[in-house]
Amino acid sequence: MFKDLDPILHSQLRLAIMSLLISVKEAEFTFIKEKTNATAGNISVQVQKLKDANYIEVTKQFKDNYPQTICKITATGVKAFEAYVKTLQEYIKKS
């Protein structure tokens, strides 16, 4: 039905992650977990998919001896997100 919608973004958790990242400069994995209420495992899988599509950048580092994963949206990601929202608006207008 929604064939024009980017399949990478048209998935609840991936869209939620992208929506969080679009409004910040960068966010920690734990922040994404807290705001989406999803499990760490599920988020990891979706983050990897977004990373493979080059929509986000993932940096792993150590802070105060704790591993920290930081996600940041890329220019490609921003473009895809904007295109997705535009398509959504067209669907809503039609209906």
Partner: protein, 190 residues
């Protein structure tokens, strides 16, 4: 999670998520109030020491800003850790005030080396004005913009009065650019 959700649900989800990242601008009030009260207290104490007690080293009271700086760094680091994300807005504010802070430091050197302390206050108030005005524009908060403009007017006024009374003008500048807007941000949901 289901992938069969409607465009309306999609938009709703985007909106909810963006809502959750909205920076709580009230957190900025901490910095404005901390620096507002510290500098306000310092400038009035300096006035008291110089004019009433006629104490020679009245300027030493400004060493208190070192404590405020340490508190700012510790609080800022803690907040960053707690938040788990960085926004461009938050970073712009931090960088602006870091720049103003460095400018104050450089200005102190320039004044000590050449211009002389009798002409210092108009320049300090000018920078208060710049920081406050720009902060107000960044977070779109009018009282800060107005506070910045008041500072610029006070900077001009300062040139025409004696050093001792410049201290009182500086106190007025701090009140209008830090303390009053600080309480207004705190009381408001932005």
């Amino acid at each position: 999670m289901s992938e069969n959700f409607s465009p309306q649900q999609s938009l709703q989800l985007i909106q909810t998520m963006i809502e959750r990242t909205k920076t709580n601008l009230r957190e900025n009030s901490f910095y404005f109030l901390l620096w507002g009260w510290v500098t306000f207290g310092a400038v009035l104490t300096q006035f008291f020491l110089k004019v009433v007690l006629e104490y020679r080293h009245h300027y030493l009271v400004w060493l208190v800003t070192i404590i405020a700086l340490v508190i700012t760094i510790i609080y800022g680091n803690r907040q960053n850790k707690k938040q788990g994300y960085k926004t461009y807005l938050g970073e712009s504010m931090g960088n602006l005030w870091m720049g103003i802070g460095i400018s104050f430091f450089i200005l102190t050197i320039i004044i000590s080396a050449g211009i002389g302390w009798l002409h210092a206050w108009p320049f300090f108030i000018l920078f208060y004005g710049l920081g406050t005005f720009t902060s107000g524009k960044i977070i779109q908060f009018k009282p800060l913009v107005v506070g910045g403009i008041i500072c610029w007017l006070l900077a001009i006024t300062c040139v025409f009065v004696q050093y001792d009374y410049q201290l009182l003008i500086a106190a007025a500048a701090i009140l209008s650019s830090y303390i009053i807007p600080g309480y207004l941000i705190k009381s408001k949901h932005l």
